[in-house]
């Protein structure tokens, strides 16, 4: 049939060609010439008539090439991050074919696993109970922590393909991948014990890589029992579910003097000439600012003002600062900006404007006022200081392996941003070293390691007896191995954040 059709076509073609040849033969040379020219002219006319059509055709085809290019880019580059979004409920359908994988600490200790009981009933078990409650999170009643951000990985199986194939045929579930975290069980325990029953948070990082080694928030909860306690804690005023380390918002207190000092150094290259005589109080209008504990520090330079955490001296600095440039520095230190890392956080606020009064400037410079910050953010600033000005992107997932331990991918430490020059970082580190050597954090003096840091006390209510106690610090100042940020809420003065840091530093 086809053969016949083809022959038919060929015959027709051949006949037509023959006709044309005969025609040409019959035509005189002249005729041929005019005919050829006519055809050429016609083609030319058509082309010029169609120029605009062609332009439009190319324009739209170009538009589609751009669109398809974008789709390929989206899939190849952007989709990985989007798919992992906690909003993506599609991930949960993977659970039909995959047993949720384990979350383990850097030393291999299991932080979360799925136990499969009789008849295939699965339950999520957290061997350390409440110790990793906030950072590891929970996977039922909604999701939080790593259980939420790593949901996609935990429900993806990279088991050996033959095994997967076998399971498929036998209609059995595959094992999900294992998330190996950067968390250090020992440091987490020490930090949690040191914080005791106080409300507050501790976060510990390795500044040279951005690894988060410990993250504690109190009060906490036991994720093993999340379903049964859910109703009682979900709207609880205590905020058990809140990860204070990243989502807590506090006045920074004197820890903010780090930012003020940096701004002062930027505006005054000869900052080592700064002199101030502290009389214990400074007043502007009807606002009077006292030094903590009503101390009188006498004559000070910048280093001793910082080491003594002298409020009056920093208020004095505050009124001299250029607000615009101060705003710029705060922005560079990520106030009001996005923070790096996969953890959910609250953006910090720095609210000084050019119309702010002198009193507000003074309050802001010494860390009161309207500034709000999380322990996570202060830890990141301290990391940058410890790391020569460069902030490494903080991360919690060191690598992902399949359930037998074969590596699927590993996180490489990545530079996030340069928050300040290395010179500035060095100068700030020296100021912070002074705080330990001859200032408010002398508890950390004379240990087997060197330390630097800044203490802080933040008033938060009308109750003058209780303050938030802050500490940010660096262990091994010349070759920093740890950075810590600690907050203790509502301390009556006996519980000090610097003591928590000491416990952690001692036990590393």
């Amino acid at each position: 049939m086809n053969e016949k059709k083809r022959k038919g076509y060929e015959r027709k073609e051949a006949l037509r060609d023959l006709d044309k040849e005969l025609e040409l033969l019959e035509m005189s040379r002249n005729e041929r010439k005019t005919d050829f020219e006519q055809e050429k002219a016609e083609k030319k006319k058509k082309r010029s008539q169609n120029k605009e059509f062609a332009i439009m055709a190319y324009a739209f085809v170009g538009l589609f090439l751009a669109l398809i290019g974008y789709m390929v880019y989206f899939q190849a580059v952007r989709s990985r991050e989007i798919v992992r979004s906690p909003y993506n409920a599609r991930q949960d359908s993977f659970a039909e074919n995959v047993i949720r994988g384990n979350i383990v600490a850097s030393g291999g200790e299991v932080l979360a696993k799925t136990e499969v009981g009789e008849g295939g009933a699965e339950s999520r078990v957290y061997p350390y109970g409440s110790l990793f409650a906030h950072v590891v999170g929970f996977a039922s009643n909604g999701k939080s922590g790593l259980e939420s951000t790593e949901n996609f990985t935990l429900l993806t199986s990279n088991a050996f393909f033959i095994e997967k194939f076998k399971n498929e045929i036998k209609d059995r579930k595959n094992y999900g991948d294992t998330v190996v975290t950067t968390l250090n069980v020992n440091l987490q325990k020490v930090a949690s014990n040191a914080l005791g029953n106080y409300k507050g948070a501790v976060i510990v990082l390795e500044p040279s890589t951005g690894k988060i080694l410990a993250m504690v928030s109190k009060p906490d909860f036991d994720p093993n029992t999340i379903s049964s306690i859910w109703d009682s804690i979900k709207d609880d005023e205590n905020g058990n579910l809140l990860n204070r380390a990243t989502q807590g918002q506090y006045a920074p207190g004197s820890t903010f003097k780090i930012v003020t000092a940096l701004e002062y150094m930027r505006e005054n290259p000869n900052y080592s000439d700064y002199r101030y005589t502290c009389t214990g109080e400074i007043g502007v209008g009807d606002v009077v600012i006292h030094c903590y504990g009503n101390r009188v520090h006498g004559e000070e330079d910048l280093a001793s003002s910082f080491a003594n955490s002298c409020n009056t001296s920093f208020s004095n600095i505050g009124v001299q600062l250029n607000v615009k440039s101060f705003q710029e520095t705060a922005k560079e230190l990520l106030f009001g900006e996005k923070l790096p890392g996969d953890v959910p956080y609250v953006t910090s606020k720095f609210q000084l404007t050019e119309s702010s009064s002198d009193a507000e400037k003074m309050m802001t410079a010494m860390g009161q006022g309207l500034t709000q910050v999380s322990p996570y953010h202060l830890a990141l600033i301290t990391c940058a200081i410890a790391n020569g000005g460069v902030l490494m992107k903080p991360y919690l997932v060191d690598k992902v392996t399949n359930y037998t331990g074969s590596e699927i991918n590993k996180t490489k430490p990545k530079k996030y941003a340069e928050l300040m020059t290395s010179g500035e970082a060095f100068a700030l580190k020296e100021l912070m070293r002074g705080v330990v050597e001859n200032g408010t954090a002398s508890t950390l003096k004379g240990r087997s390691y060197t330390a630097a840091g800044k203490t802080g006390t933040a008033e938060y209510s009308s109750d003058k007896e209780k303050d938030h106690s802050w500490f940010v610090g660096i262990r091994n100042v010349d070759n920093p191995d740890l950075v810590i940020a600690v907050i203790i809420e509502g301390s009556d003065g006996t519980a000090r954040a610097v003591n928590v840091a000491k416990e952690v530093f001692d036990n590393y």
Binding site: F53, F60, F74, S79
Partner: protein, 455 residues
Amino acid sequence: MENIIVELSKYLLIILVAVYTYLCFGVFGIEDPYRKNSMLTQQSVVMFMIQIVAFGVMFLQTGEKKMLIFYGMQFALFLATIILYVNIYPKVSRLVVNNMCMLLCIGMIMLTRLNYSYAMKQFLISACAVAGSLVVPVIIRKMTTLAKLRWIYALIGLASLGAVFVAGRISYGAKLGFEIMGISIQPSELVKIVFVFFVAASFRISTSFKNVVLTSAIAAAHVLILVASTDLGSALIIVIVYIVMLYVATKQWVYLAAGIVGGAGASYVGYKLFSHVKTRVEVWRDPFALYETGGYQVAQSLFAIGTGSWFGMGLFKGAPQTIPVVEKDFIFSAISEEMGLIFAICTVLICVSCYVMILNIAMELRRRFYKYIALGLGTCYIFQVFLTVGGAVKFIPSTGVTLPFVSYGGSSILSTFIMFAIIQGLYIVREDEEEDIERKKEERLRAQRSIKRLG
């Protein structure tokens, strides 16, 4: 076991659609009519293979016999469409018929998976539309008065848009249409075609400045009514179609530039004036930040496309129902989620091949009226594809228009069928014209020769 079959079928479907798409563009360079014809036949065979694989997989997963029966019905419809078109109009463009069936086929597979009763409705509308559209090419070919009815086109367009504006119901913030016997009709879909006829008829008469102003004023009236009805997707399509036709007809860069600047200005005013335009732009910027307040739809679409990745989850293995109005504005995301982004990109390329074919026809035609119509309809079609696909992947803000032939919707299907039937009519006119030219040439030659002999 079932999962393995679904898994393998995914790759098979992708290979088949890739072959089909390759043939779509492959035929453009082929002169040899036998080879061309056999490639076009291969295309149809590939389409039927895609259909049988997809329905086989869906039957396997649901175990419902109605899948097989429905498959049989669709197979019959597509076969009949191809046979009828090719036999009634031997000069028809087979590529356009094939693409029409292919896009409809992809749409029917996805709709059957998403919502069986919608799919059944769509099937019935398509069957009627095929039958109805068969007469359109004759009308185009025979009715030479079509070029002279410009005021009638303007009147029909403005009157029906006005009627919808007054009597229309509210749906998703836009007064778009009314319902007849359970089938929702959106006149704006059909008005786009009438509008193209109006502009073509007007520019056929003259492209003098005076006439350009007059035509632009009437075009602006269309756009304003659509904007007032908050049907901004259609308004945008009309604007683009008009600018393109104006530029091509007048051959003046100035009009193109003025159109683009004016369009951009109007968009900015729209953005400032209408809160729901503003929302859509903000959602486009960051759908996740506005997840609770309007970003949900686009975010779900991105999850669908991202989770499906290159090869898709497999039919019935994804969760496309989580995207609001997935059957209409976001069917592209559903295709991408379950059949894979490669399959989805091939679908887009098939649409582009339709456009290239239409513009090809426009360039080959001689009479200006027909040329403009082909250009206008082609632009209307491809820009609508761009809006819906671009919106689904967040390349541009989502505008809420359908993917022609693929999305669910009575008037969308109907108007696209009419549009393509008109294109077919124009293609036949082109063949007629060519025959005419050949004949005239022959006559001239013969005359010359006989003069010589006599002399």
